[in-house]
Symmetry: C2
Subunit: 103 residues, 2 copies
Amino acid sequence: METHAKEGIEKWQDEQFLEDTAELLKALAHPSRLKIVGFLASGKKCVKHIWEALDLPQPNVSQHLSVLRNRGILGYKREGSIVCYYIKDKRVLELYRNLTQED
Amino acid sequence: METHAKEGIEKWQDEQFLEDTAELLKALAHPSRLKIVGFLASGKKCVKHIWEALDLPQPNVSQHLSVLRNRGILGYKREGSIVCYYIKDKRVLELYRNLTQED
DNA sequence: TTAAAATATTAGAATAGTATTATAAATATC
DNA sequence: GATATTTATAATACTATTCTAATATTTTAA
């Protein structure tokens, strides 16, 4: 009576887990993308607000947003002429809090 | 009466934090390195044991170990002719557990 | 001191990630 | 429709990462 297919297998033996998780971490493993995630941790923000607040060139931010969006970390919503991004993957919020907490 | 220098500043505004954290994540953001960390999560292991258990070429593992070691994630101890690695950075254990916990 | 075992390093080619610049697309306003 | 604003995409040059194969280093034991 197995309730899960991979019961008893350690996570590090699950190649799918390793690849997916590495992809997730890779997406976060850049100062600017981490900055974006940190900025979005307090809520949804529009693109212009993001690149102005973070003091980064607009196309650069747009590219980083697309990395985060394509890996399912961010979601977005068009609101008229502006586009607003938010953190979609709850695990990422947890991870970010984990990384920012003082020891 | 400030007890910390950077009080009141959000973490995402701290460029040093962003760079350090991105480096940490980058070191973990590879399937084989994640696999090594997962294997070491249960305790110290010697190099041969690592590359045999993980079914990876010896020089490859050695290179990955050096990445993890250089970034302070792993520590090691020579014991006679063999070298044993262990997880030195406690944050990484927390991160790994965070990543492996089921939702 | 030589040989074997364990681990590390190096060199090279292939691939991937990045910033910058320029341009395109979508929407809103006039 | 013309124009301004916002965001995305493309092209390029540059740098970094990765794997593989070969070789070096360290330790132990014969």
